[in-house]
């Protein structure tokens, strides 16, 4: 038994690693940047000081969020890139310099060139008003190509144009002389010092334990789930949401089992009777009915006054203030939860009952049941005592999926009935690219899947003592 337990727990480790890697990898692949998305972009008019201030803010936020560290334990990269690329925090700068490096194979020279462009832009913005506005606008238009192009010929051509344009205004030329020479010399240098062959040499950088993934995972394991995008702790968000999901699911599970098991058994005992045939058909149809269709239909027909059938309360959870008496609030909420519970129940009910019937039919054909009947045992006792336990296997398998489903919540049901549970939280977080929340929910649900499997295994042993934990 102990050996079995340890084996089960050992399987959990690769699962955890796989899921955390998947979630982490996905969060890194999302469009958008976790730092700059939270900050306001600087305005162009502010000049050098505002750009500097923005950079300082980015640095500070990155430090707070731990994003100024390497992403992973190691990185595979070409030799053209240094092991410190992650320290460039501004995504626009990182992308542009990477693109340049991808051409010339020299990171530091590319970086110097990029900085000279930035310097040029700052000086251009800081020019006094006496300078011809026309020339300034022309120069600024050229900037984007200097920033984003990476082809040598194009860059040289743009530089030539910039120099020609600047020459139109002697005041400007005088003011901008140093940035311009810096720009042209760094551009020349970038291509004279180019080492394109370096791009083709693979290199593995080792960063050690102080990386984003490691910190994230260790924090998760000690229960520190971090902050969501809106600054609220993830724990708060989840604990608010899990409450609704749990209520709905616990009621669902109790209802489903309480109806399905007797139904399945009766159906199996009276096999091929009218009762059995009609239940089987109904269950099959129920099982095939997509939840989101039924939920939509119920909402459309029974919660709106449109067809004169407004039997149930509308979607959402009602809007009684928290100062209202508890019982009033309870009944209000319960009224709103009737339909979600029905929708959630019917599928599991159909599934459990069908499984129960199948398992029971198989058991009832066994020799020992015939023996029990032959020796004159009451039919009730044969069914409920001798057969039930052995036909529980398929039901037990269900337990494995109950835990994760209960917490993962039914995304559709919560979406359609507008219930702020876990499924809704997950969906909203996905739409908002709120990765701290998504990561936590994915990990929690995976954790519960493993626990569910584990509980199912224990129950197998209880239902059939022959099952030994090898």
């Amino acid at each position: 038994m102990l050996r079995y337990l340890t084996k089960r727990l050992l399987i959990f480790i690769p699962t955890l690693i796989a899921i955390s890697l998947l979630a982490f990898g996905l969060s890194k692949l999302t469009p958008g940047d976790p730092i700059t998305d939270r900050l306001q972009a600087p305005d162009d008019s502010g000049g050098a000081s505002s750009a500097e201030r923005y950079e300082k803010e980015v640095k500070e936020l990155a430090r707070q969020l731990g994003l100024d560290k390497p992403s992973f334990y190691f990185a595979l990269s070409s030799a053209a890139f240094p092991d410190t690329t992650y320290r460039v925090l501004l995504p626009s700068r990182r992308d542009a310099v990477s693109r340049l490096t991808d051409r010339c194979g020299n990171w530091s020279a590319s970086m110097r060139y990029y900085q000279s462009v930035e310097n040029f832009e700052q000086r251009l913005n800081a020019l006094p008003d006496s300078v011809d506005a026309d020339v300034r606008i022309k120069l600024r238009k050229k900037l984007s190509r200097l920033y984003f192009s990476s082809k040598e010929r194009e860059l040289r051509a743009v530089l030539q144009q910039v120099q020609d344009t600047a020459a139109l205004d002697p005041v400007l030329l005088q003011q901008m002389e140093r940035p311009l020479t810096r720009l042209s010399s760094s551009l020349k240098k970038m291509y004279s010092e180019a080492t394109p062959a370096k791009r083709l040499i693979p290199r593995l950088y080792w960063y050690g334990l102080d990386n984003q993934y490691h910190n994230w995972l260790t924090n998760f394991l000690v229960g520190n789930f971090g902050e969501a995008m809106d600054g609220r702790p993830v724990v708060d968000k989840i604990s608010n949401a899990i409450w609704w999901t749990l209520i709905i699911n616990i009621v669902t599970i109790i209802l489903a089992f309480a109806i399905a098991i007797p139904l399945g058994i009766t159906s199996a005992v009276r096999r091929d009777s009218v009762f059995d045939r009609s239940t089987s058909l109904t269950l099959f149809i129920l099982y095939s009915l997509p939840t989101f269709w039924i939920a939509t239909m119920l909402v459309v027909f029974f919660t709106t006054p449109e067809y004169g059938l407004k039997i149930f309360k509308s979607i959402g959870l009602g809007d009684l203030p928290s100062s209202a008496p508890f019982m009033a609030r309870f009944w209000e909420t319960a009224g709103h939860l009737v339909l979600p519970v029905i929708c959630n129940t019917y599928v599991s009910l159909a599934f459990i009952a069908r499984q129960m019937r199948g398992g029971m039919i198989e058991v009832l054909q066994q020799d020992y049941i015939r023996t029990a009947k032959a020796k004159g045992l009451e039919a009730r006792k044969v069914v409920w005592k001798h057969s039930l336990r052995n036909s529980l296997f398929p039901i037990i398998t269900l337990f494995a999926s109950i835990f994760p489903a209960a917490v993962g919540g039914s995304v559709v049901i919560e979406l359609i009935f507008n219930i702020p549970g876990m499924g809704r939280l997950m969906l909203d977080s996905i739409f908002a690219a709120d990765w701290p929340v998504i990561f936590t929910i994915l990990m929690l649900v995976a954790l519960l899947t493993v626990i569910g499997n584990f509980v199912a295994d224990l129950l197998y042993g209880w239902a059939d003592p022959r099952v030994r934990f090898a």
């Binding site: 791009r199 149809i285 997509p290 269709w293 499997n453």
Partner: protein
């Protein structure tokens, strides 16, 4: 000429017997047979969707000129034909037709009928010129025909089932077959090959996808080039491994516990909350497309097939005919591909039937939620989701939902029929 040993096993006849018997058993299940017929209708609808619902006429005559616009549109899509100038702003309804054979439903799924916007009921009054233009299943807010959307949705659903399950079957078959046939003790590889393949994967990734990451963003052909580079590196590495087979230590063969590794992998994979992961995966894709959904659903639903095929092969590889094949000196691959896998396919069919049902359901769910489907793609799930926002348009809730339901049920029925027909435990007579 050397005479070959004349051992005659006669596999085709035996295999035919098995399938014929299963088919006979399947035919006894009337529900399943009806489901098959219904499926056939769906397939026909999705094949000829363009002729069933289209705002272009099938054949028309304008100013003495004859046109076959729907056939022509295929040519235009393939790049071998060009539209006549008169059709360039695609104003099919404003043409002066001398003669016209319209499609069965004279609307396209995403075409807008401006006169019949704002939710026209199928039974209510509609602004139409003749009964052929009636919106038999109503319209949505913009005036798009629901019936045309249903036809387009049929095609999407069938393609999802087909593509997703093809991918899943391919992966599941490969992994399941290796796990089941080789087990823990029979897969032997030389150390050098293992080592070089590991290295090869890293190098292939580096040269095909890292060095070329900016080129990859440019066009689709770059991706093909990258794949070619990756495949080339892997071939090179394996050739090298073959050449170095003679080395003393590295050339030795070691046993790989294929079954253990693959089963652990499957176990890990099934612990991943699939639906949630699917949502997360699709949310990061820049350009949403229905094909991404098909591929990802396929990539996520192979575990069942792999398990089934593994279990079957574990049983089959103990059988005598495999031993006979080995004794005759057939290569392991030949035995696996020609003799073991074909006999394990029966149970896999069952999983595939149920798998298609859940793939269709998953796609409907995703487009219902609105993740990963492009704006102008009409699917059943998307039509159904319109009903959430407009409760008075009952036809938006009833028709697409019923289509999903009946299709999923048909595949489930076929799956059940196959279970009864193929599973020896439930087979009667």
């Amino acid at each position: 000429m050397e005479q070959r040993p004349s051992v005659h096993i006669d596999p085709p006849q035996q295999a035919q017997g098995y399938w014929a018997k299963s088919w006979k058993q399947f035919r006894k299940n009337r529900m399943a047979v009806w489901a098959m017929r219904f499926l056939f209708v769906l397939l026909m609808i999705s094949l000829f969707a363009d002729f069933i619902a289209n705002d272009k006429p099938i054949y028309c005559k304008i100013e003495g000129q004859r046109y076959w616009p729907i056939f022509k549109s295929y040519g235009v899509q393939l790049g071998i034909a060009k539209w006549d100038r008169r059709f360039l702003p695609a104003n099919w309804e404003n043409q002066e037709y001398e003669y016209e054979i319209p499609a069965l439903i004279p609307y396209s799924a995403s075409g807008i009928d401006y006169r019949n916007g704002n939710f026209k009921s199928p039974f209510g009054e509609q602004q139409i010129d003749s009964w052929t233009e009636r919106h038999w299943m109503g319209t949505d807010q913009l005036g798009r025909d629901v019936a045309a959307g249903m036809v387009a949705g049929t095609r999407v659903a069938m393609m999802v089932g087909l593509i997703a399950m093809s991918i899943a079957t391919l992966i599941g078959l490969c992994l399941g077959a290796v796990a089941g046939y080789y087990g823990d003790h029979r897969l032997q590889v030389s150390r050098i090959r293992l080592l070089l393949n590991g290295l090869g994967i890293v190098l292939a990734f580096f040269y095909a996808f890292m060095v070329r990451r900016y080129q990859l963003q440019e066009s689709g052909t770059e991706l093909l080039k990258s794949l070619a580079i990756a495949v080339g590196i892997m071939i090179l590495v394996n050739l090298l491994a073959r050449a170095l087979k003679g080395l003393p230590y590295l050339g030795q063969r070691i046993t790989i516990a294929a079954d253990l590794i693959i089963m652990r992998f499957i176990e890990t994979f099934t612990s991943i909350p699939g639906l949630l992961l699917l949502l997360a995966l699709l949310s990061i894709i820049h350009r949403p497309s229905i094909f991404n959904i098909m591929v990802i659903i396929g990539l996520m639903s192979w575990t069942g097939i792999a398990r089934f095929i593994r279990a079957e092969l574990l049983r089959i590889r103990q059988l005598e005919y495999i031993e006979a094949a080995q004794a005759m000196g057939f290569s392991e691959w030949r035995i696996l591909l020609r003799h073991a896998i074909p006999n394990a396919l029966g149970p896999v069919l069952i999983t595939i039937a149920f798998g298609i049902a859940s793939a269709i359901l998953a796609e409907a769910f995703l487009s219902f939620v609105g993740i990963g489907v492009e704006e102008d793609q009409v699917t059943w799930g998307k039509l159904l989701s319109l009903a959430r926002r407009s409760a008075h348009a009952w036809w938006l809730a009833v028709f697409p939902g019923f289509a999903i339901f009946i299709t999923v049920t048909a595949f489930n029925l076929i799956g059940e029929g196959l279970t009864d027909a193929i599973d020896p435990r439930t087979r009667q007579g």
